[in-house]
Structures are given as C-alpha cells and as structure tokens.
C-alpha cells in the first residue's frame, strides 16, 4: 500500500467503512502481533493486546490527523498497549510477592517458562530464548527500541519517528541496550556455561 492508499483507507474508516477496517486489520495484523509478541513474550497476551490495539484504532481513528504515517501511529498505539500490559503484570507480580510474604497467598511463585518466538530459525532457538530472557530485564524504552530494531527490522529513522525522538537518541538507546544485554548474557553463560 502506498501513502495515498493508506490515506484513502483511513478516510474510509473514518466514515465507518467496515471493508476498509478489514483491509487495515489484515494488512497490519502481523506487524502489530509480532511487535507485541517481542515485547510481552507470551502468545496469548500478544493476541489479546493486538485485538485491543485494533479496537482502539477503530474507536479513535478520528483522532488520527495524518501528521505521521498510519503505520507510525499504529506502532505507537502498539508500543503503549504492550507497555501498559508489562506494567500491569509487574504490579500483579509485586502484589503476589507481598501477599506471599504476609502469608495471604500460599501459591508458589513460579517464573514463566522460556519464551520461544515462532519465527526464530531452529538452530538459534536456545540462544534466542536466553536473549529474550535478557531483553525482559531491559528498561522499557531500550526494550521498545531493541524490539523494533531486531524483531521488526525497522531502521533508526523509523524508530525515531515512532518514539518521537531523534536518531541519535535511538542510537544511544540501542547502544545501552546492547551493553546491558552483553553484560547479563556474559553473567548467564559464566554461571551456566
């Protein structure tokens, strides 16, 4: 789809055209799902969040002014929904931990199983699982930038537009993310190697 087609689709959706909405969902569902999956690392949650993203697109398309590309707007919604989910999960985990400390919750706190992205080349499966475990520990902005770059394959320019920042900030974010990952991976392999 070129920019003109994109604009037409958006205009049609603003008029409530269901066919336009279907085209939009089918065109961008992989992009949204894949990004969310890279961030939340759980297929069920990713499906739920992806549905939520398109529901918001349908309900708030009139707020899209066309200043940025539609895909950029969509990536922003996707990132923000995925981060909301991570914050909620973190809160729940903290609450469960505190409840356990006070003896209100006797269930054992189990850590989630290793995440295996379905698009990973078979040979890299184990290494990728370790990497995803490390990505989980990154601060949110580094996580978003790294996922968009490595999982979605976006350029620094595209990431800077999505994150509303400069290219040099993206470079810096990615540099810090890689430094952190390198340090954690090194620790991991030293302990488990």
């Amino acid at each position: 789809l070129d920019v003109l087609d994109e604009r037409n689709l958006v205009e049609q959706l603003k008029r409530g055209d269901q066919a336009a909405f279907k085209t939009i969902v089918e065109k961008w569902q992989d992009m949204v799902f894949n990004t969310v999956l890279g961030i939340v690392q759980n297929a069920e949650d990713a499906e739920d969040i992806a549905q939520d993203v398109f529901t918001q697109v349908y309900q708030s398309i009139h707020t899209f002014k066309g200043d940025a590309k539609f895909s950029t707007w969509l990536y922003r919604i996707t990132g923000s929904k995925a981060l909301d989910h991570l914050r909620r999960t973190k809160r729940k985990k903290r609450f469960a931990f505190v409840s356990k400390l006070f003896g209100e919750n006797n269930e054992a706190l189990v850590s989630p199983p290793d995440f295996h992205h379905p698009g990973i080349v078979l040979d890299n499966k184990e290494s990728a699982a370790v990497l995803f475990k490390a990505i989980e520990r990154l601060p949110h902005s580094q996580k978003i930038a790294f996922t968009l770059n490595k999982v979605e394959g976006l350029s620094y320019q595209e990431i800077s537009e999505i994150m509303n920042t400069t290219i040099s900030s993206v470079e810096s974010l990615l540099h810090r993310a890689k430094t952190n990952l390198r340090k954690w991976l090194e620790d991991f392999y030293r302990e488990n190697g």
Partner: protein, 115 residues
C-alpha cells in the same frame, strides 16, 4: 582461556540469534475476533449505561429532579408574569402622569389670557 572463548562465542550467538527472524502471525480469523471484541465492548458500554439508569435509586433521583425542575420552572414563570404585570401597571401610571401633565399644561395654556 577455553571457557572464556566459549562464553564469548555463546554470547555472540545469543546476540545474533534474532537474525533472519520470520514475523509471527496471529491465529487465523483474527479480524473476526477483533470484530467480536468491538461488538462486545459496544454492548457492554450500553449495558453499563442502561443498568446504571435502571437502578431504583438513580431512576427515583432522575424523576425527582425532573419534577423539581418542572416545579421550579412553574414558580419562575408565575413570578415572572406577576413582575411583568406590575411593570405594565407602572408603565401605564407613568403614561397617565405624563398625560396629566400634558393636560395640566394645556389647562394653563388655555387659561392664559391674551395680552
């Protein structure tokens, strides 16, 4: 030394493990599920609104408010029309005064003897 090299190798493998990654897709019929979700959310919004309105306390409060507003409007209208009548009467009185003055003037005018 060998261990360090192994660690370095594993680390590089992990960092490059996302190369050649294929994009993941949601399960089939994703659009149908999105549509169902939108429908569900719209229904739930209406059901929230209607169940809120149907609550006895809200319904009674709403009806009472309407009745009170009607009574207030009635009183306001009554008071307003009474004030309007008074104003009309005052206006008439002023006109009468004016007429009297005019009449008095004309009386004096009429009684002025020609020199």
């Amino acid at each position: 030394m060998q261990k360090k090299r192994n660690i370095e190798e594993s680390l590089e493998d992990a960092l490059n493990s996302l190369d050649g990654l294929q994009k993941a897709s949601p399960a089939p019929f994703f659009f149908t599920r999105v549509q169902a979700r939108i429908q569900r959310e719209q229904n739930s919004q209406w059901s929230i609104i209607s169940s809120f309105i149907a609550r006895p306390a809200v319904a009674v409060a709403g009806i009472s408010l309407i009745v009170l507003l009607n009574i207030a409007a009635l009183f306001y209208q009554k008071e307003h029309s009474a004030t309007a009548m008074l104003t009309d009467q005052n206006d008439t009185a002023t006109t009468d005064d004016y007429n009297t003055t005019v009449a008095t003037n004309s009386y004096y005018d009429e009684n002025i003897e020609p020199r």
